[in-house]
Symmetry: none
Subunit: 237 residues, 4 copies
DNA sequence: CATGAATGAGTCTTCATTCAT
DNA sequence: CATGAATGAAGACTCATTCAT
């Protein structure tokens, strides 16, 4: 009943009000993370928060606004950080690394919130509603696409790559990487696991995207493929 | 009411056949693709299929089994093809390309079904149910992880890469790439768009993953295989 | 498939038709006995009978008529025998014994049918329907009431007893006695158990009902008159 | 619509109280009494109680629990009174009279509730559910059987009578006697009718059961306690 | 006669949302 | 602000009944 000192500032207000509201929000995140938006009832959120049923409706117009708020709370910060990175000046390489960093850190700080975002955002067609969420989600991809387009101009990225696709690949990699954690596919004994993942993620992506001789004679104009791979020190050969 | 067309097309297409079960399945795929599992009512499926409400229950035990069947129908073939590619003999490069191929072709053949899979599979916590779906989804990632692990042994893939993560990245890239199509981010005017995406997807991924001098000043080669990773069968030493 | 020779006559027809019809009827009795009328579906009956779903509707207009037929089949014979006993000439004592005999024998011959009758007859308010059944059930009590009224005239039964109540007691005793068997409260190892019950039932009832000095200082002869009962010649006078 | 009266009478009787649960329970008893468990819809109960549909589910988990509660409410008191009588010290004669008294009084106080009990209790096979009800019902017969067994030891009851059967007869008589009222076979103009019935019921039963010279040429005294009978605790030698 | 697919009205049950206290 | 009882629309599921073959 009194453990939410640390975050009451975020919600603003008298402090006591922020307390309750924030408690409910946290509860919502937890329950959404556990059972998904559709699988949870307002009653679940209220119980998890330890407040009365009706109180949820004091702070949130309806269930949808609650989810929307969860979304904004969790996603908002992520997006703005992402945006500031994407639109900042600097080398693309660094930007990509910082984007991965933002994502992984978000997960480290609040895995449940990330789980909700991954689970519920941009995944629900649900007529009408969900549009705004999907919209924001797509926006961030477009943002990154712009970033890649600019990087192509400056020669930082292979020119034959579709910027939009590059952006999709980046976030796809990030998202599925996190999913691997979320789903327990990769479990986190020590915090280094996340760091390793972050590193591998960004570097692997960069290798694929940066221009350079490294390409396995990529020549997707004729798709000959296969031959001529020279592993530096192949074990098999 | 121009969707009357769509309905009769779906339902009456072959018409005389007693294969109403299949009609219903198609209708379910369409409605799921349009509104998602939760957003669709049995009544919608029945109307879309042009059959009576109760008939859905004649062929499917309940809504869940219907979804499950949609899942198996769409996913089953995909998985088995994926598996046969992953477990086949041959160069990793080819395998990756063929995997991308399978995915993109699946989308080309039946974009709605793919949309349902992307939307509903492995994305819904939904207590209890969904387990099997998530399970299969994770299995395919493990499968790919094995493939990468073996490729590491033969030196076809950088040894410092976590196989599980590599698998996650591959499917993340594929999935988000398709999502870009599904969501309209990348518009499909000409069929070549898909081919281009397929090519870029696989080649970009391969660049990032194959061994070679191309790596940007990667400086983390050390702590490999440290911890936190759960390979299904750690064959490599 | 061929054990219903004895009753095919009742159903009439070619014999083969009687076969099917009778099979269904037997199945209905069994299922009703096991799950009750409401708890059973036409599908259950069809499966139990080993015939096709729709065939039930060839022989019976609807579920209700099926039950009605079960009722008439099982109850009809019982009632007519009961009636012939009640309206026969002879000593009341004998009649009572024969009534108990008819009931117990019915149970011995076809316990399941009796179970259905006990369970479903005259017990279901079910608006409208059931009236006929209840009607017949009450009729038999009225019948017995008449029997007792006549026996009072001839001095075979205590005159201070309400005939209707006496009839109710008799059938109540019979029914609950059978219920004790049906429910397993008394189980039937050897057939004598039923005979004993029959004997005790009728003799105990008779002791209570026959005139005689045995009455335990019965002192309630006063408040006669009351409800619709007219002892022809009150004892007090 | 003159039943609006009935409704408001039932629902608004005390009105201001928040004891809607009780209102619903009463309504359920009334509707069950009128249409039986299967014939009644939750909507009926809600309408009868004058409350919203959903409120029924606020107080009762489901239709079955509602019936179960009706059962416990009505039956519970009856059983405990019955038990205390059966297990009390005193002459068997008095006990029997008091048992009849309890039953008849229960009917006088709340005929509808008794109707429900008679109609629904121990009469519905209904797989699984109903077990508890049947169980309690049989328990009370076993209880009475014990009472009779003890009375046999002290010579208060004929020794050649099966206690279990005696118990069945007693309750059969009571139940069918009440059924006669419930079904309108015996009309209740004046309240004395019930008293008469009570008296006749107990005295008739006692005559049949008490030892004494009154027995008609009973000639079966021998084979007592032969077989097939399951006394809960066969104490008598 | 037989079959079992097809129909759809009837019910239960859930749960977001409102409201009196 | 807090509470939780009250509301009722929405939707899954059942199953008696019909019908084409």
């Amino acid at each position: 009943m009194s453990q939410q000192q640390g975050k009451s500032a975020a919600a603003g207000g008298t402090g006591r009000e922020g307390d309750r509201r924030h408690t409910i929000l946290r509860a919502a995140i937890d329950v959404f993370a556990r059972k998904g938006y559709h699988g949870c009832r307002i009653a679940d959120v209220a119980r998890e928060a330890g407040v009365a049923y009706g109180l949820v409706y004091h702070y949130f117009k309806n269930k949808d606004e609650l989810l929307e708020t969860v979304f904004e709370t969790g996603w908002g910060g992520f997006v703005s950080r992402m945006r500031s990175v994407a639109q900042s000046e600097g080398a693309l390489e660094d930007k990509v690394r910082r984007i991965a960093d933002v994502a992984i850190e978000a997960y480290r700080v609040d895995p449940r919130a990330v789980r909700v975002l991954i689970l519920e955002i941009a995944r629900n067609p649900s007529g009408g509603r969900g549009i705004s969420r999907q919209h924001v989600f797509l926006d961030i991809i477009r943002l990154a696409a712009d970033m890649f387009a600019k990087a192509q101009e400056s020669g930082e990225v292979r020119k034959d790559l579709d910027p939009m696709l590059a952006a999709a690949l980046l976030f796809g990699a990030i998202e599925m990487g996190l999913t691997a954690f979320v789903s327990g596919l990769i479990d986190i004994k020590n915090p280094e696991a996340l760091d390793r993942a972050k590193l591998q993620l960004s570097e692997t992506f960069l290798r694929g995207v940066l221009p350079g001789a490294a390409s396995p004679e990529v020549s997707w104009k004729q798709e000959k493929s296969s031959s001529g791979i020279k592993p530096k020190e192949g074990r098999g050969s």
